[in-house]
């Protein structure tokens, strides 16, 4: 009852303030000049990224350095998580021992197999069509990370590791992705460009499909980096609590 009264007071306050403000504001109908510039120039125009998807062209071309540093933040966050759960060699070996047998009924397991295949296809499509349709490396990578999570939930983490996707490999794939981003960003320097320059260096389209120059490369590498980074973290997170307590020497 007490909570209900609090909620009611909150609701009335919000509605009252909104009613008061409504007389003084007009909802925005026009674009900001900067947004209009990006919309006009992303495919046509002199400073073009050759990508019909304006958000992606801002992300990796017009504001590319911004995104580069955001990727650095992502790198540091994942490295921080891996460091917090650091294991030595024997502990890592012990963490890998377990039964890769699903504990769930048969239909769940079969449906999971189908869903994982579909998630892989959809995430690749999101990432690789990032210069044409909504999506891109970040979104595709986040979707990709759901697949190993689903496998961990329906089977076990041991099944994932027995099939070759262990923490080390995930970290290697992530490093390949980040290295690819760095190399793609530095390539224009060889041709007397500036860092992350797009159109004069990279091809605009291939086989009649607009590629957006370097955008497709960045999307591909970011897809690998984000997907594999989250996979490594999920693999660490799924080590049973009993084993971790033993490693830490906690008696509770």
């Amino acid at each position: 009852m007490k909570r209900l009264i609090g909620l009611l007071i909150l609701l009335i306050t919000v509605l009252g303030v909104a009613f008061y403000i409504a007389q003084n504001i007009t909802p925005p109908k026009d674009l900001h000049p900067l947004g209009e510039y990006y919309l006009e120039n992303s495919y046509f125009g002199e400073h073009s990224a050759k990508s019909p998807e304006v958000v992606t062209s801002i992300l990796w071309d017009y504001r590319g350095v911004d995104t580069l540093f955001e990727t650095a933040v992502f790198f540091l966050a994942i490295i921080g998580s891996l460091t917090l759960f650091r294991l030595n060699k024997e502990q890592a070996e012990e963490a890998r021992q377990g039964q890769p047998k699903p504990q769930l009924p048969e239909p769940v397991v079969v449906v999971t197999k189908l869903t994982v295949a579909m998630i892989l296809a959809v995430s690749a499509s999101i990432a690789l069509h990032g210069q044409l349709t909504p999506g891109g490396g970040f979104q595709g990578g986040s979707a990709l990370a759901v697949a190993p999570l689903l496998v961990i939930a329906a089977y076990t983490k041991y099944a994932l590791e027995k099939n070759g996707l262990d923490k080390t490999r995930a970290i290697i794939i992530r490093s390949i992705g980040l290295l690819g981003i760095a190399l793609t960003a530095l390539t224009p320097l060889l041709a007397n460009g500036y860092i992350m320059q797009n159109q004069p260096i990279f091809p605009g389209e291939a086989l009649g499909v607009p590629l957006g120059g370097s955008l497709v490369l960045y999307n591909l590498f970011e897809y690998l980096a984000v997907g594999a980074g989250f996979t490594a973290v999920f693999l660490l997170l799924s080590i049973p609590e009993k084993k971790f307590k033993k490693f830490l020497g906690v008696r509770r």
Binding site: L15, G35, F138
Partner: protein
């Protein structure tokens, strides 16, 4: 009427921001603090996307419908501002990674101290340090 709906949206988002800040400060449980933090960051992202929205009837996403210059004028008239969306995309994924880092820290704190209450953790920490000296 449209102005009223628009202002209700903005004011309720601001109220959510205030409530989530209260959650971060007032709740003693670390997991609840993390939940409040995610609500805070998501609300901030929605506010940023709202900055680029246009209240007109046929409103389109910022993707060229066809690759011809004749469609460009119509497109600029109906498309929303792409810049806030581009800024939010990275913020969402980075926020997810940072939230995972915080969650890892919280799990480790729970393993070592056996509690998630910040007051309990504050009491246990000096004891652990003293035990190391003895």
């Amino acid at each position: 009427m449209i102005a009223l709906l628009w202002s209700i949206t903005i004011v309720s988002l601001l109220a959510t921001l205030i409530i989530s800040v209260c959650g971060i400060v007032a709740k003693p449980n670390l997991v609840k603090k993390l939940i409040a933090l995610t609500i805070f960051s998501d609300t901030a992202n929605v506010l940023v996307v709202l900055l680029g929205y246009r209240v007109i009837y046929p409103v389109k996403p910022p993707i060229l419908p066809q690759l011809s210059k004749t469609a460009l004028g119509e497109f600029v008239k109906t498309a929303v501002d792409p810049l806030p969306q581009a800024l939010v995309i990275t913020a969402v994924v980075i926020g997810m990674a940072v939230n995972i880092l915080i969650a890892f820290a919280i799990i480790q704190i729970y393993r070592i101290y056996g509690t998630l209450d910040v007051r309990e953790v504050g009491k246990t920490l000096p004891e652990l340090l003293r035990r190391g000296e003895a």
